[in-house]
């Protein structure tokens, strides 16, 4: 067994294949659970029971819904631009799956003499890759809205585009201090160059200060974390920023004309993206998979980092669900005001302040 695994992970190509399939499976199973989790939590917050029939505690409800959607008729309305109309759901799925590839979800495992990183691909430009992929996600919504040949999808698609690109600027701005801080942390050691690799960022958050506070970046970069989380909720089109699919105004938004499995893909992509942004926030600000392993035997200890990662991610996902159950939808002009007049200036101000403080700390006063 060990020999087989060692042979697989020693080979670059086969280890890539295995990791990809594992990440794919994690995302699919996780989505099944996440949709159930959201429906149950919202139900309890509204004094209902929620899905509890299919499987134990209703856990298989999402699977049942997926199978139902798979066997539904695919209606192709008369006025669609067929090529782009069919490409849009596929274009929604691909970036969602690609983003999770660069996120480390556990401590590297040693099998025999081979070290296996629990991460799809450890890119040295991981953070930039994430920003690039979340930009690409906008395309699917524009295409869906435009190609549907109907007024509600068009309005929903255009709204979604303006919203997502506005908050993407804020999101990117919130991540710059992280890279800056990481480059200082490394310089304290030996390497002397900065990093945007997510696995390196997690390693930099190891250790603790004053003995009991973990060395997570959130304690130095709290404003960044807050801006990032607000932007993340808007980026995934979740309540209170779900104007993209505001039923009372524009029916279903960009996916009004989609049915069956095509609709299911938009739905799936939305939930994967929700999981992705939470996982990114955990990795960058909350120490990723770091956490105590309580001195467990090595047979079980390898699972503890994965558990910590999932626990932290689901804590953030709970906040997403909590917001949805609590807050009413914003008005569109309020949304744009919050993005451009509050978050971006706040991000710029925090960046300038943080840069000056760190520059004085690292280089001393420029006039001395």
């Amino acid at each position: 067994m060990t020999a087989v695994l060692e042979a697989i992970f020693g080979n670059a190509f086969w280890s890539a294949v295995v990791k990809t399939v594992v990440v794919f499976a994690i995302l699919m199973v996780n989505t099944l659970f996440l949709v159930w989790f959201e429906r149950r939590v919202v139900a309890f917050m509204q004094n209902r029971i929620g899905p509890n029939r299919a499987g134990p505690m209703g856990l298989l409800q999402t699977l049942a819904d997926g199978i139902k959607l798979f066997f539904k008729e695919q209606i192709t309305p008369r006025k669609v631009e067929l090529g782009m109309y069919l490409a849009a759901p596929v274009a929604a799925m691909i970036p969602a799956f690609l983003i999770f590839m660069v996120i480390p979800f556990g401590e590297p495992i040693t099998i025999g003499n081979t070290v296996v990183t629990l991460q799809g691909a450890d890119l040295n430009v991981g953070l930039l890759f994430i920003l690039a992929m979340s930009s690409l996600a906008v395309y699917s919504i524009v295409l869906a809205g435009w190609a549907s040949g109907s007024k509600y999808p068009l309005l929903g698609g255009v709204r979604a585009t303006a919203q997502m690109i506005s908050y993407e600027a804020a999101m990117g701005l919130a991540l710059v201090p992280v890279v800056l801080f990481a480059s200082i942390q490394i310089a304290d050691g030996s390497v002397g160059v900065g990093t945007m690799s997510l696995s390196r960022l997690v390693e930099l958050q190891q250790g603790s200060f004053r003995g009991f506070i973990p060395g997570w970046f959130v304690f130095w970069l709290l404003p960044s974390f807050i801006i990032f989380m607000i932007a993340a909720v808007a980026e995934t089109n979740r309540a209170p920023f779900d104007l993209v699919e505001a039923e009372s105004e524009i029916v279903g938004g960009y996916h009004t004309e989609y049915s069956g499995i095509r609709f299911a893909f938009f739905f799936l992509a939305e939930y994967i993206n929700m999981f992705n942004v939470s996982a990114i926030a955990v990795t960058v600000f909350l120490g990723g998979w770091l956490g105590p392993d309580f001195g467990l035997p090595s047979g079980i200890a390898w699972a503890m980092p994965i558990m910590w990662f999932l626990l932290k991610t689901y804590a953030l996902l709970f906040i997403f669900v909590w917001l949805r159950a609590t807050l009413p939808r914003m008005r569109y002009d309020q949304l744009m005001t919050l993005g451009w007049k509050r978050l971006i200036p706040a991000g710029l101000a925090w960046l300038i302040l943080f840069t000056l403080v760190q520059a004085f700390r690292s280089f001393g006063a420029p006039w001395s």
């Binding site: 670059a12 190509f13 990809t20 794919f24 798979f70 008729e73 695919q74 209606i75 192709t76 309305p77 006025k79 596929v90 691909i94 799956f97 690609l98 660069v102 799809g120 691909a121 450890d122 890119l123 040295n124 953070l127 930039l128 549907s148 040949g149 109907s150 007024k151 068009l154 309005l155 585009t161 303006a162 690109i165 506005s166 993407e168 990117g172 991540l175 890279v179 480059s183 490394i186 310089a187 900065g194 945007m196 029916v251 009004t256 069956g260 499995i261 893909f265 569109y332 002009d333 744009m336 005001t337 007049k341 971006i344 710029l348 300038i352 840069t355 000056l356 760190q358 520059a359 690292s362």
Partner: protein
């Protein structure tokens, strides 16, 4: 780092593409298609659509898109500097500082000119109210 690091990304790209396209084709094969003329109309709450979908929409959306291009490019430059913050020292801080101040100025300018005000009607109303109060 060579391009081999991107191999899993490429594999995932094709896996996701194959999964999405494959299930769409499979679902098409396995389901009964029963299109009727009414079913294929664009959605309009069940009534007959009177208008074609709008092909022109407010110019404000284009404005947002252009502002985004400016700010996103700024942020990409900031990443390049931030990852070398330590070795560039005060020289880097100064250079990026000038660059950032230009962008802060841009933001202040478009803000002042009202490019960030989404609701133009309310802005005009406020101006009229102000003029009215001035006259009184």
């Amino acid at each position: 780092m060579s391009l081999t690091a991107y191999l899993p990304i490429a594999i995932m790209f094709f896996l996701a593409l194959a999964f999405a396209a494959g299930s769409m084709v499979a679902s098409r094969w396995l389901t009964t298609q029963n299109p009727t003329p009414e079913k294929l109309e664009p959605y309009e709450c069940g009534i007959v659509p009177l208008q074609e979908p709008v092909q022109r929409f407010p110019v404000k959306f284009y404005l947002v898109a252009m502002l985004f291009v400016i700010f996103d490019i700024e942020i990409v430059f900031l990443f390049a500097w931030a990852s070398r913050f330590d070795s560039l020292g005060w020289y880097g801080v100064g250079a990026v500082g000038i660059f950032t101040l230009l962008l802060v100025e841009t933001l202040a300018y478009v803000w002042k000119r009202g490019a960030l005000d989404w609701n133009v009607a309310s802005r005009r109303r406020r101006r009229i109210t102000a003029e009215f109060e001035e006259a009184a």
